[in-house]
């Protein structure tokens, strides 16, 4: 039996039995077991197949550092089962295997070798002939990488992000970490400790988050902590790093065999999980802590054949050999010992990555052959072993594999051997960073935890340099592997809905996105909705329009400076269309401005431009310091456009205000009650028919909508959606900012010269527009009409004299006109009435003619009626 009798301080709870599935077979476990420890107890020794050679690999570090035990758990790939607590009923599958872990068909790569073995083989081998690359790529994609990502994403798990601010954050809950935490707590600080291991008990007066991993130290002292399904973004006044050390492997022939372990791994198997790590063991190490594992081995009843302390005894050759990837013997300087466990340690290396990320300097300590953090930044502290408090530590050889034919691994994650590193150096990749990029050493799942130091030592030996001169590679986050789902957080797509939204749903509207808004595309047949607006009356929910109140003594001159057209002379109770430009002359938004009083204006913006315009206004007000207050009332007010020849009759039924043709003229703005609801009525006409835009408190949205539809049933009132509105406005050549204009468009080129008042003192964009006026523009926005019924795609190509010369921005079939119409950018020479164009439709060139005036009601008679 692998499981030992109860050990003092063991993590497992033998009173609680669990079970899970491994390759479809049930495996029993105790509470507190990890998948790794339970599988080990069940006799599993091979835990994975290596990245490149498909060599069998077993438990090595048992602390979540290496890649040796990565499996797929419940569909999540690359889970380190040595630290993943058992979940009842979980399904565990091995990965990177064709066949089984013990008989992997791809292990042929290891035996045959050939073109696959040397580093960089595919850079050299798989480039010729070039036309074969798609096949090479398909093959490489298949064999490269570890694990398979679920194509449908990790929808089972929900991830959240939490933001926390504490006085002291302690990373690492070992002895030193807890001591530092208690000391800080006694001084009254709010302290949080995060630790990678599941906690056994809860310390008094301290908050312990475990198992949880600090994945890095980012700018501003941000420490994101992976707490499973929650990413906690910590901001701490002080960061205490107590991450301890990482046992480093030795480089020798056969150092990756199953049964070669690090002292930390042995200690955890015995002490935490009461597992017997072997029968006959050899130990080779050079520091006291590593040698402590001999006591654990003896306590577990393991026959310890030999203990080599390389501080006292010089070893020059070491090799492990075995059968089927499992250790059977160890040869030390020619002496062969038969064993099934080889505990080999190249010494402890402080786990300094978080400190280095925080800005600490890392210095080589030649005495002990390790890198230690020095010169910590303000607010960052290192305690315990990570700070280099390690006592007497021996320095091993860079390699014990001279003269052996066996593979000596420097990096087991990526299967990089000593030979590969030497070869890279011989080929001229003579800096550590270059060797890293060429061989991928330190770039595997362990991120250099177990291979960084070994590669530096080897590099230094080969180039006869001091390790200090070789230096380290840059420590970058993440320090520990993290799921992309956790970084992404909860998958939510915020949507804004108007106060009338539910009425649209009830009416069976097809909804669509416009920016962050959900709006009705159509309630059925869009062309019938268009016809109803032309012939009777339609209502459309335009609550999404941005709505700003601009108040103050300077309100008029403020708008006068912001818009190219005039607002100072706008009379109270009148509305004017305006286009906002930048100082580069570019159109950023459009809308209407109504004067409510001497020093109050009501400004509407496009649906998607509300926030942008608000920021734009606020910014200029911050610059100009005018006596102006700007209020965003977008959400507070709903808006409905009532449009069609019978709109007046409908409105007249619901208000005592004078809405006659003379009482409320085109471009009048009037505050009145409609169906008892206080409204601002704007008589404007985006859709080209007699129309009234009613703006009123959102709370009355459904009521007023219902009332309009209810009281206008005999007039034929029907709701219309965005598609109908798009056709209607296109018949009038009314532009949609962002659809018909882009970041290059200006008001002159967009065929609105009447809106630009050059005689004003100044306005934002004046100088740039004056330059356009002087030098001419490159293209012009015009209407066009197809000679036949073809409807070009929006974005379709305009062809003049056989050359691409412009693009279609909007196009629709107008049933009212019986023609296909649109808007397009064309060369200025083409911007004249009746100019011929060709437009590419489905690959064919179709004839069209330029139309500069509205297609429908060009004189605006219906609009003004």
């Amino acid at each position: 039996m692998t499981r030992l009798p109860p050990q003092a301080g063991e993590r497992i709870d033998r009173s609680r039995e669990l079970s899970f599935w491994f390759r479809g077979r049930p495996v029993r476990a105790f509470g507190g077991d990890t998948f790794g420890s339970a599988l080990y107890a069940a006799g599993q020794r091979v835990f994975s197949r290596s990245f490149k050679y498909h060599r069998p690999r077993g438990l090595l570090c048992c602390s979540g550092g290496c890649a040796n035990c990565m499996m797929t758990v419940d569909g999540t790939p690359n889970v380190r089962v040595c630290v993943e607590p058992v979940r009842e009923g979980a399904r565990v599958e091995p990965q990177n295997v064709v066949g089984s872990l013990d008989r992997d068909l791809l292990s042929v790569v290891d035996r045959v070798g050939g073109p696959f073995t040397p580093v960089g083989f595919y850079y050299r081998t798989m480039i010729r002939p070039r036309r074969f690359w798609p096949y090479y790529e398909r093959f490489l994609r298949n064999v490269a990488g570890l694990g398979r990502v679920d194509k449908h994403g990790d929808r089972k798990n929900r991830y959240d992000t939490e933001h926390r601010s504490v006085d002291v954050l302690v990373v690492g809950g070992g002895r030193s970490g807890m001591r530092a935490a208690r000391a800080a707590a006694e001084r009254g600080a709010e302290v949080v400790v995060v630790d990678e291991n599941p906690s056994r008990e809860h310390p008094d007066g301290l908050e312990l988050i475990a198992p949880a991993t600090a994945i890095g130290v980012y700018e501003g002292g941000l420490v994101p902590v992976d707490a499973g399904s929650v990413l906690i973004r910590f901001r701490a006044g002080r960061i205490v790093v107590a991450t301890g050390t990482l046992d480093q492997p030795l480089v020798f022939g056969g150092n990756d065999l199953v049964g070669v372990m690090l002292p930390s791994g042995v200690r955890r198997l015995v002490r935490d999980y009461a597992l017997k790590p072997g029968e006959r063991a050899v130990v080779i190490a050079g520091d006291d802590r590593a040698l402590e594992c001999v006591d654990d081995l003896l306590a577990a009843g393991v026959d310890v054949l030999e203990v080599v302390d390389f501080r006292e005894r010089r070893v020059s050759a070491l090799e492990a050999s075995g059968r089927r990837g499992r250790v059977e013997s160890v040869t030390i300087d020619g002496r062969r010992l038969e064993c099934d466990l080889l505990v080999a340690s190249g010494g402890p290396q402080p786990a300094y990555s978080l400190l280095a990320q925080a800005g600490a300097t890392v210095t080589f300590d030649a005495q002990r052959g390790i890198f230690v953090p020095t010169e910590l930044p303000v607010g960052v502290e290192a305690v315990g072993r990570v700070a280099g408090n390690l006592g007497n530590v021996g320095v091993p050889h860079a390699s014990y594999g001279d003269g052996t034919s066996a593979k000596c691994f420097v990096c087991t994650c990526e299967d990089v051997t000593e030979k590969d590193v030497k070869r890279a150096l011989a080929e001229g990749f003579d800096s550590l960073e270059l060797v890293k990029r060429y061989t991928t050493v330190t770039m595997g799942p362990c991120q250099g935890r177990l291979c960084h130091l070994a590669s530096i030592r080897l590099h230094a030996r080969e180039r006869e340099l001091d390790a200090a001169a070789v230096g380290t590679t840059t420590a970058r986050p993440p320090w520990a592997p993290v799921k992309l789902g956790l970084l992404a957080g909860r998958g939510h797509e915020p949507a804004k809905r108007t106060s009338i939204h539910h009425r649209h749903k009830e009416a069976g509207a097809t909804m669509m996105w416009t920016g962050v808004w959900r709006r009705p595309y159509a309630y059925g047949d869009a062309s019938a909705e268009v016809a109803n607006v032309h012939d009777a009356v339609g209502v459309i929910d335009v609550s999404t329009l941005g709505k700003l109140l601009v108040l103050g003594a300077d309100a008029a001159s403020f708008l006068e400076r912001l818009y190219p057209n005039r607002f100072a002379d706008l009379k109270e109770g009148r509305v004017r269309y305006g286009v906002l430009s930048t100082d580069a002359g570019r159109i950023i938004d459009d809308g209407t401005v109504a004067r409510l009083g001497d020093d109050s204006f009501y400004v509407t913006t496009t649906s998607t431009g509300a926030e942008g315009v608000l920021e734009w206004f606020e910014w200029w007000n911050a610059v100009w310091h005018m006596d102006v207050e700007i209020f965003n009332v977008t959400g507070a007010l709903a808006a409905v456009n009532v449009a069609g020849p019978r709109a007046r009759e409908l409105l007249g039924r619901l208000t005592s205000a004078d809405v006659s043709a003379d009482g409320l003229k085109y471009l009048d703005a009037r505050q009145a009650h409609v169906a008892g609801v206080p409204c601002l009525i704007l008589r404007i006409g985006f859709v080209g028919e007699l129309g009234y835009e009613l703006h009123f408190p959102s709370v009355y949205g459904e009521f007023l909508w219902d009332t309009l539809l209810g009281y206008g049933a005999d007039l034929g009132v029907k709701p219309f959606g965005l598609e109908a509105q798009r056709i209607l406005r296109l018949e009038k050549q009314h532009i949609i900012v962002g659809q018909d204009t882009d970041s290059e468009s200006n008001a002159l080129s967009a065929n609105m010269p009447w809106i630009v008042k050059f005689d004003k003192d100044d306005f934002v964009g004046k100088w740039a527009l004056a330059q356009v006026e002087e030098h001419g523009d490159r293209e012009r926005l015009v209407g066009f009409e197809m000679a036949n019924g073809a409807v070009p795609l929006e974005g379709g190509q305009i062809v003049v004299d056989g050359r691409p010369a412009g693009r279609v921005t909007s196009s629709r079939r107008s049933a009212k006109l019986g023609r296909s119409i649109g808007l397009a950018w064309v060369p200025p020479a083409q911007a004249r009435e009746d100019a011929p164009l060709e437009i590419r439709v489905d690959g064919r060139l179709e004839p069209a003619r330029v139309r500069l005036r509205p297609f429908f009601d060009p004189e605006g008679e219906r609009l003004r009626s």
């Binding site: 933001h163 980012y218 700018e219 501003g220 941000l222 901001r235 100082d583 580069a584 608000l614 920021e615 606020e618 910014w619 911050a622 610059v623 100009w624 310091h625 100088w767 740039a768 004056a770 330059q771």
Partner: protein
């Protein structure tokens, strides 16, 4: 980018709450010629050093304010609400670092 920025109203907050709006520029007082207009509209000094710049507390109190930030280290030296006449105040001369910024 994860540094903290102090809003003059709300105090230190995560930089992701703010919108950055570039270095402080000076709008010409008189009608500029094409060259001066182009400089104003398109050219930025893009200093490696302390820069005076506009920020907007978009996911907070929605105030526009000015910050002096070292673009090499993201250290924010000063924040303030714009005072009258800031438009005409040229940004401080950039501190040219001895070594190239990394």
């Amino acid at each position: 980018m994860s540094f903290l920025l102090s809003c003059p109203n709300c105090g230190p907050r995560d930089v992701n709450e703010f919108a950055y709006s570039g270095e402080v520029t000076t709008r010409p007082a008189e009608t500029p010629d094409l060259r001066a207009l182009t400089d104003y509209v398109y050219f930025r000094r893009n200093v490696a050093g302390v820069q005076r710049e506009w920020w907007y507390h978009r996911f907070g109190c929605e105030v526009w304010f000015l910050a002096e930030r070292d673009t090499r280290t993201n250290e924010v030296l000063r924040v303030e609400l714009p005072g009258r006449g800031d438009e005409a105040t040229p940004a401080p001369e950039p501190a040219i670092p001895d070594t190239p910024a990394v």
